[in-house]
Symmetry: C2
Subunit: 158 residues, 2 copies
DNA sequence: GTGGATTGTAAGTGTTGCTAACGAATAGGC
DNA sequence: GCCTATTCGTTAGCAACACTTACAATCCAC
């Protein structure tokens, strides 16, 4: 099984320990964050194959729904993305008619984003799928541990 | 400040709560994992601009050092990567003369991977940089919290 | 030996992140 | 009001990864 081999990777001690080493790879916090994220992303992608949406795309739909008329820059800052990267995502979502850009009245430079009907419908389906996905992630934790984990992770992304 | 805007994104309640909603985006564990990973990756990339190495590349160097003669498939399984993806990474590292491929004696299909001298030197520098990076991540936690976090994350990637 | 599985490789696609540059619009100092 | 600096959206290009399919070489079981 892949799982066993992997556990081995995190468990296996280095063959030599003579030199000044900063420790085994399994003690590197960043390593665990990366792997946990990878596992999460993998399951997310599986869950969303039918809907054909990525994590980023769902996050954008969700935030536009929560903040109708939000500008792209605002969105980028909230999701810690580049302006250019945000563009690419918005383009894909717009091509699917999930949202539209309206020139902002107050600031001619900005594009106000609004969900279109297909986008709202898709977001509703996406939220259900996220529910399943979350259940999968949370299945290995107690409620208290989930709160703990969110608290600890929040401190990393501030 | 970006930080404030971002905190707002995680904190701001949705304007309407009438329909059957699965909760605010800030309660989605996957969302926090993604953001924490992003923050981590960003800092890692900054720390490693001089060395011109990515997280994956460092992981590969580290594992090849820990397991001299390891095969690419083995590496891929340990890091949860695709065979093809592993190829690309090994190619880049080989182009920099950080490691070499030797046809395995025991199995003619396999390529045994070994660090070259430049690779060993680079790994030593990388481990120092990882030390700094880890210090940055861990600065916001107590030792106990670090252990907790690693334990919780480990349960996600098994 | 033959057939099936494994391993590395190659080629192609898609998503995401970055940079640099540009025009359009705004905001602030004067 | 006017000029300058900044912001916003946009385009283009580059790099890293993850995925797929296909293929040749090798190994193993029978």
């Amino acid at each position: 099984m892949i799982k066993d081999k992997f556990a081995d990777a995190v468990t296996a001690p280095p063959p030599d320990d003579g030199e000044a080493d900063i420790g085994a790879i399994k003690d590197i916090l960043g390593f665990h964050i990366r792997l946990a994220h990878g596992a999460c992303l993998r399951h997310f992608t599986e869950t969303f194959t039918d809907l054909d949406l990525t994590q980023k795309q769902v996050s954008v739909l969700w935030l536009v729904d929560d903040h109708p008329g939000i500008a792209q820059t605002d969105l980028a800052q909230r999701l810690r993305m580049d302006r250019a990267t945000t563009m690419a995502i918005i383009n894909r979502l717009q091509a699917k008619h999930f949202l539209r850009r309206d020139r902002s009245d107050k600031d001619g430079r900005k594009q106000a984003l609004f969900l279109e009907e297909p986008g709202k419908a898709m977001l509703a389906r996406a939220k259900t799928a996220i529910g399943e996905h979350e259940a999968w992630v949370k299945s290995r934790f107690s409620d208290k541990e989930v709160r703990q984990l969110i608290d600890l992770l929040s401190r990393i992304h501030e």
